[in-house]
Amino acid sequence: MRILIADDDRMSRRLLEKTLEREGYEVIAVDNGRLALQQLSLPDGPRLALLDWMMPELDGPGVCLEVRKQHERPYIHIVLVTSRASKQDIVAGLEAGADDYLTKPWDPTELTARLRVGRRILQLEDRLVEARETMRFKATHDPLTSLFNRGIIVDLLTRELARTRREKGCTVVMLGDLDHFKSVNDTYGHVVGDEVLREIARRLLASIRSYDFVGRYGGEEFLIVLNNCDSAQAIVRAEEVRNKIAQHPVQTIRGPLPITMSLGVLASQDWDLQLVEEILGEADLALYRAKADGRNCVRVGKPTALCNAQDQLAK
């Protein structure tokens, strides 16, 4: 494990360095507080630090205060090493953000024991962060396909529509439904059905840009949100998605299965709808038309007024 030593006293620095190297630490040694802060602010900087109290440029408590402002970084366990052993000093050091302190001259066995405590705390923090991230993923993703779940994809769409209105841009909404999926489940069983859903999810993810969103909207329904995409591009993008699904059969344990998707598409700029439910309702109607028109096709939802205007232009 890497550890930072910050001490302007050469002798103390060398002694700490040697003691910690013997314990198997990878030591980074600096001689002032500014350099210490620089090291601790690096994205992959050390997570254990031994800081002298009095240092040029920035003292130990000053480094602690700055480090604790960096909320986004993984936690850093900081031990202040000081010859200032009054209760007042200790309290000030801990209040500044230090986790522990050692008084000089320190005892090597006590030093290494305290650092082991620090490592245990960091390991505990890592486990908690990992558990939190796992829970966050489970709360926001569909367990079968690992796509966003319905709640999250609708939230993302709501946010995206609000942004689009603010910036007078356009968001494209695609609602896709696998054709005859019920017969896949009925004929080959749910294990194969799940295989198909996982593969479709993979293909959908591969067909969108990194800043677009895709989620599982229902059983075999998927919602795709394309940011900064206008109605002219919408149908092209939807056809790309449809092709990506239909192009190659899905390989399953029961052999390759041809799978297709119908899509209802709309571009927010064509509509004056405020509610996400209304937008989704119109996308659903377009999807219904795609199903009615023979499936494996794309239908664009357009308001009647716009359709009439386009018809007039066509004449």
């Binding site: 006293d9 050469r10 002798m11 040697k18 003691t19 010859s83 001259p105």
Partner: protein, 124 residues
């Protein structure tokens, strides 16, 4: 304890504590003595200059650094004198400063030759 070890104890070095700190590594002890040999005269000069200038903030800083080094080598008595100088610097107390510096010099006078002799004897 060896004869040289006894001598170090007589001049105020807590040898068992020092050996524990360096984990009986005489090469490391030699390195620390080397650092002390370079740093001590510089810091002492800095302390004396600060006293002459009446710069009490620097008196405190130089004494603090000296205290750290002396504590690191377990020179307990001299470290206590450096600590007293640090407190005087912090309090802005000028009276008695020069005497304390002289005391510190005396306490440290025999330190380097005795430490050198000790490491030489132990390595034999």
């Amino acid at each position: 304890m060896t004869r040289q070890g006894d001598r170090l104890s007589q001049i105020g070095v807590n040898l068992p504590e020092l050996l524990l700190r360096v984990e009986n590594d005489l090469d490391l002890l030699g390195e620390l003595i080397g650092i002390f040999r370079e740093e001590f005269p510089r810091l002492l000069q800095c302390l004396q200059d600060s006293i002459t200038r009446g710069d009490m903030k620097n008196v405190e800083a130089a004494s603090h650094a000296l205290k750290g080094m002396l504590s690191g080598l377990s020179v307990t008595q001299a470290a206590a004198t450096a600590s007293r100088l640090e407190q005087m610097g912090r309090a802005g107390q000028t009276s008695g400063l020069t005497e304390a510096v002289t005391l510190l010099e005396n306490e440290v006078a025999d330190l380097l030759p005795e430490l050198d002799a000790y490491t030489a004897e132990e390595k034999l």
